[in-house]
């Protein structure tokens, strides 16, 4: 088979970690849903930052501080363009996607939502897009309502109209980190806007894999995280519509986010500085820029095509090789579906399964994947999740199938 649209061998060579062996075998990394590996160019960008221009930004009038400031602002501009945002000022850097959701829940939520208002979540949501809203609900008496799912792990939108009654915000993932389902965001945005509500999109599992266009989605807020898209740990972002951000009070308080501080109080700065208190993850923001450059170099459309083909291969291969012993919790077709495969194999507990897979060099995740409400609906405590990315190929899928088979043998009492 040689149908994949990316040259995976060449790509793998750019990722230092994918060169390593575990238990004397080449590593087969199938946990990019948890965090992706990083190409050398991202590490180089951060090393270069530290070796040449490390300085705190915005406040130093010396050369390397200027250079660091410019590099960070260029990164903001690059991320804005990557997301299809109109202006760089709509990008707020955070430490991860989780902080970005919390920022909206605290700043927008506590200002705009009152007792009885409804926040609509989908059953597919990650805890990052659940718990901040539950905290808000507990503090302000806001009601949380849930969009159910179909048997295939997609959103069930049959009763959307009824669900939207009283809704002020829909917070929904662009791609499930468990079933791989990709909800129809523009459709949802239109429905939500029709009732005067806002939509927050969790793009954590989307932006690494598909071209992102916040304008085409007509989203109001979008959160994402660098470490799942070839970028470093320690940085994420909130994109928000300028008029919404402008009207929001600060969240974290501290240096940089102020216009003035007196003994009596403070005046917040403009957007996005208002939301960026304290020293930012400077090296990480710059590393993220290199990750964006890397992804754009391959082409987001090419990455998407590659993943669609590989996911189709995986669905086919696993089903053929493991038959009825295997359950895949998610859509069986690749349409509007990412390369996330949540598996149940015989009655082997996911922890035990993943432990045996590890011995074959195959890295997968076992657990609830921070989606306990979804697990409840799926009727399981945990799944074994393999997630495909741009550096995976058919051989990786074959290795997964082999290892699953071997685990079956090991636990066949």
């Amino acid at each position: 088979m040689n149908t994949l649209s990316l040259d995976v061998a060449a790509i793998k060579a750019e990722f230092p970690l994918l060169q390593r062996q575990v238990y004397d075998q080449p590593i087969v990394y199938l946990d990019s849903g948890a965090t992706s590996q990083k190409p050398q160019s991202v590490l180089d960008a951060m090393n270069q930052y530290y070796a040449e221009i490390n300085a705190n930004i915005h406040r130093g009038a010396y050369l390397i501080a200027e250079q660091a400031t410019t590099a960070v602002e260029n990164s903001r501009a690059a991320l804005a363009r990557f997301l299809g945002a109109s202006v760089a000022e709509e990008i707020v850097f955070t430490k991860n996607a989780t902080e970005a959701v919390n920022l909206v829940a605290h700043s927008w939520g506590r200002t705009n939502l009152r007792e009885g208002d409804v926040v609509l979540l989908s059953t597919l949501e990650h805890h990052a897009n659940i718990v901040p809203w539950q905290q808000l609900a507990a503090d302000q008496g806001v009601e949380i309502r849930w969009i159910p799912i179909t048997n295939e792990g997609r959103l069930d939108l049959t009763d959307l109209d009824a669900l939207l009654d009283g809704v002020r915000l829909l917070a929904v993932t662009a791609a499930s980190n468990v079933t791989g389902a990709m909800p129809p965001l523009r459709y949802l945005a239109d429905a939500v806007h029709a009732v005067g509500a806002k939509i927050l999109v969790d793009a954590s599992q989307w932006s690494p894999h598909r071209p992102t266009d916040v304008a085409a989605w007509d989203a109001d807020f979008v959160v994402l995280t660098a470490h799942k898209m070839c970028g470093p740990t320690g940085v994420g972002a909130l994109w928000g519509r300028r008029d919404l951000l402008d009207a929001m009070p600060p969240f974290l308080g501290g240096g940089s986010m102020i216009q003035n501080v007196t003994f009596d109080g403070f005046t917040p700065a403009e957007v996005p500085t208002r939301f960026e208190a304290g020293t930012q993850p400077l090296a990480e923001i710059i590393g993220w820029h290199a990750a964006i450059t890397f992804l754009e170099g391959l082409g987001l459309e090419a990455i998407a095509a590659h993943e669609r083909d590989l996911t189709a291969y995986a669905l086919r291969t696993l089903t053929e090789r493991l038959g009825h012993d295997l359950t895949i919790h998610g859509p069986s077709s690749v349409e509007d579906r990412g390369g996330t495969l949540s598996l149940a194999y015989r009655d082997i507990h996911p922890h035990d399964l993943s432990q045996v897979l590890d011995q074959h060099g195959v890295c997968v995740r076992a657990g609830h994947h921070c989606t306990k409400p979804l697990m409840k609906v799926l009727g399981v405590n945990a799944t074994t999740r393999a997630s495909l990315y741009l550096y995976n190929d058919e051989a990786d899928v074959d290795a997964l199938a082999d290892a699953l088979f071997a685990a079956g043998e090991f636990f066949a009492f």
Partner: protein, 159 residues
Amino acid sequence: MAGLEDLYREIILDHYRNPRNRGELEVPPATMAEGFNPLCGDEIQVYVEVRQGIISEVRLGGQGCSISQSSASMMSTAVIGKSTDGARDVMRDFKKMMSIHEDGLDGDATSGQTADRPGASGLGDLEALRGVVKFPVRIKCATLGWNTLDQVLDLLEVE
């Protein structure tokens, strides 16, 4: 590098295949607590009945992986017949064995060999779980039942 045989010792698989003391007890007279492994979603219910200061019965509910299930199963056989203080002693020894911070802060947790440490004797079959410390992520599996037992003992003290 730790291999599967360090983790899946025969006696562990035996307790997993044939879990001891599964079931429920009526509450009261028994006392029950429920535990979660926040990392993987496993849950367990531990029922304990104490008669004349001695743990007379233990029953286990819930679901989990081979490590959490076998650890709880072995725990149940280890504490039945002991006083609550005696059960706490075993628990302390077991948790000591499971601690990655034990050999001094900052040590390499995966290399710590502690076979000759004093308190770690008297664990009997439970010694088979020693290999778990080489797999830090699985420590929470091995201690799930114990932490839940701890809650039960606390409840018993309040009563």
